[in-house]
Symmetry: D2
Subunit: 168 residues, 4 copies
Amino acid sequence: MRAMNAAALRVLVTGGTFDKTYDELEGRLRFAQTHVPEMLELGRSRLAVVVETLMLIDSLEMSDEHRAQIVAACRAASESRIVVTHGTDTMELTARALHAAKLEKTVVLTGAMVPYTFGSSDGLFNLGSALAFAQALPHGVWVAMNGRCLRGDRVRKNRASGVFEELE
Amino acid sequence: MRAMNAAALRVLVTGGTFDKTYDELEGRLRFAQTHVPEMLELGRSRLAVVVETLMLIDSLEMSDEHRAQIVAACRAASESRIVVTHGTDTMELTARALHAAKLEKTVVLTGAMVPYTFGSSDGLFNLGSALAFAQALPHGVWVAMNGRCLRGDRVRKNRASGVFEELE
Amino acid sequence: MRAMNAAALRVLVTGGTFDKTYDELEGRLRFAQTHVPEMLELGRSRLAVVVETLMLIDSLEMSDEHRAQIVAACRAASESRIVVTHGTDTMELTARALHAAKLEKTVVLTGAMVPYTFGSSDGLFNLGSALAFAQALPHGVWVAMNGRCLRGDRVRKNRASGVFEELE
Amino acid sequence: MRAMNAAALRVLVTGGTFDKTYDELEGRLRFAQTHVPEMLELGRSRLAVVVETLMLIDSLEMSDEHRAQIVAACRAASESRIVVTHGTDTMELTARALHAAKLEKTVVLTGAMVPYTFGSSDGLFNLGSALAFAQALPHGVWVAMNGRCLRGDRVRKNRASGVFEELE
C-alpha cells in the first residue's frame, strides 16, 4: 500500500458549479479560474497532484467534442489515477464516454451542488472523497458524489432530489 | 463493488481539534457537541452512517483507558467499516492500539489541524477522504490526513510541519 | 444619547443581491427568504428591530409602483429610523423617490455587492454600518455602502467600479 | 454632511478576540497580525482609513500603561475620528480612561465575541457599525457592540450574557 500514497494524481478541471464564482460587477455566476489549488491547500493536501484546466464550462454546454477532449486528456495523462471535476447535470454522459474508452486507469468524476465559494458548498467534501477513491479504487470509471462512489456506466443524477444514484 | 456503497459505516467521535468550538462567554476553545452530523449534511452525504460519540476530549488528555475504550467500540460495532475522529497530537498512539487489536475491520482515523467551525479548517476535506478510504480500503488501520492514507502502524505526525508521514 | 439606543428601528427588506441564495436544484441564484434576522443574530444585535419583508426582487425589476410601495411603507412605519435593504443597481432611484417624499424620518438604504450566503460578501459589514447610521444620523435619506454614508439625492453607483459615489 | 464622508479615520488596533487566530501547529488561539485591513477589503470600504497596530494583546492582560498608551495614541492622531479595536473583557476600563482624557475627538471602541476567522464571528458587523458611529457621532467616547452605541463612561459588559449594557 505504500506505493498508493506515492502515486501521482492528475486533476482534470472542466468547470461546473464547483468552480463558479460570483461576478460582483455583472451580478451573476461565471467562471474565472479553478479553485482546486486553493481547495488542496485548505485540505493541507500533501498528495503529488497535477492540476490541469481542460475547460471551464457549464456541463449543460458540454458537447461530444468536449467529452472527446476529456477522454483524450485522460488517455494522454502519464498518471493512472485521475480526478475529473465536472458539472453535475451531464456528469453521467461524460462518465459513460470515459467508460466506453476502456482506459487502464482509475478515473473518478466529482463536482458540487453549490459553488465552492459559497458557505454551503459540498465541494471540499467531494474533492476529499474523490481524491481518496482515486487512490484506493481499481481501474474503472467512478462518480464520487454524496460521500459515495458509483459505477460510471450506471450512474445518474436524480434531478428531483439532486442526489446521484446507481441504476439497477 | 455495488456492495461497497450499500455498506453501513460507523463514525466514532472522540473529540480533537476537529470538533472544538469557540465558547464566546469563556473566550476559549472547548467541546460542545460533535459537528459530524452537520458536516455530513453539508457534504450532501447519502451514506448509511451511524455517528456515535465515545468521548469529546483533546487527544493530549487521552489515556490508555480511553484508547482501550476506542478499541472496544470498534470491536463491538456491527459495521466492518469505521471512521474514528481524533485529535492529531496522539492519533498515532490510537492507531497503534487499534493495529495491535487485529480487528477484521477497516478502521480509518482522521482529524483536523483547525477546528471545523473556523473558515480555514481542513475538517470537511478530511472527513470526505476518510469516509471514502473506509469504503474502499481492505481491513486494517489507516490514518487519513493531508489527502493521503497512511498505515496505522507506521504513521507519525511531524510536529514541526503539522504533516502526517509514514515511517520507513 | 441614551434615547438613541432605545429607539426602535425597522428594516424594510426589498431583496437585491444581499438576499439572493443559490438554488442547488435549479443551479441558479434566486430569492427564498431574507437573511436579515440571521445576520442580526450573527452580529449579536440587541437593537429593537422589526424586520418587514416588502418584496424580494432584483432591483433591475423594480418598477415605479414598487418604489411607491417602499415610500408608503416608510411613511406608515411607526419607527422614525428605517433601514431599507435593496439591490444596488437601482438603489439611487429609490433613494431619490424617498428623498422626494420628504419624510420626517431617517431612512438608510443599503445592499451588498455579493450575496450574504457567499464567503466574500460585504453584506454583514454593510448591515452593521446601515443600522449605525440609521441610529446616529438626522432625518433624511442616506445610502450606506462602502463604509460611507452618501446623500440619497446625490448618490450614484459607478457601474465600472461597483463603488457608490456622491455627485458633485 | 459631505465633509463627514471625506473625513479621515484612524483605526487603532489593540488585539482582543477580534484579531485572534488559530495556530494550527500549537493548537491554540494566538495573535499573528490584525485582520482589519482584510475586513475593510471584504466590506469594500472606500473610507480614508489609517490602520495602526498599537499592540496585539488579550484585554485581560492590559495594564494601566497599555491604557495610557492608547489614550496617548488617540491624542496624537491627526484624525478626529478614531475606532479602537479591543478585547471585550476590559473594554469598559479603556473607555473610562479615554473618557477621563477629555479629548476633542470621537473615539469608538469595538471588538468581537468570536474571532473574525471563525464563521460565527460578529466582528465584521461590529467593525461596520463602529466605523459608521465614528463618522456620525459627536465628540466623546463610545462603545459599539451588539449593533448599539453606548456611552463610554457608563458601559459595562454583562459577563453572564456577553452583552454590553449601559449603566443607569
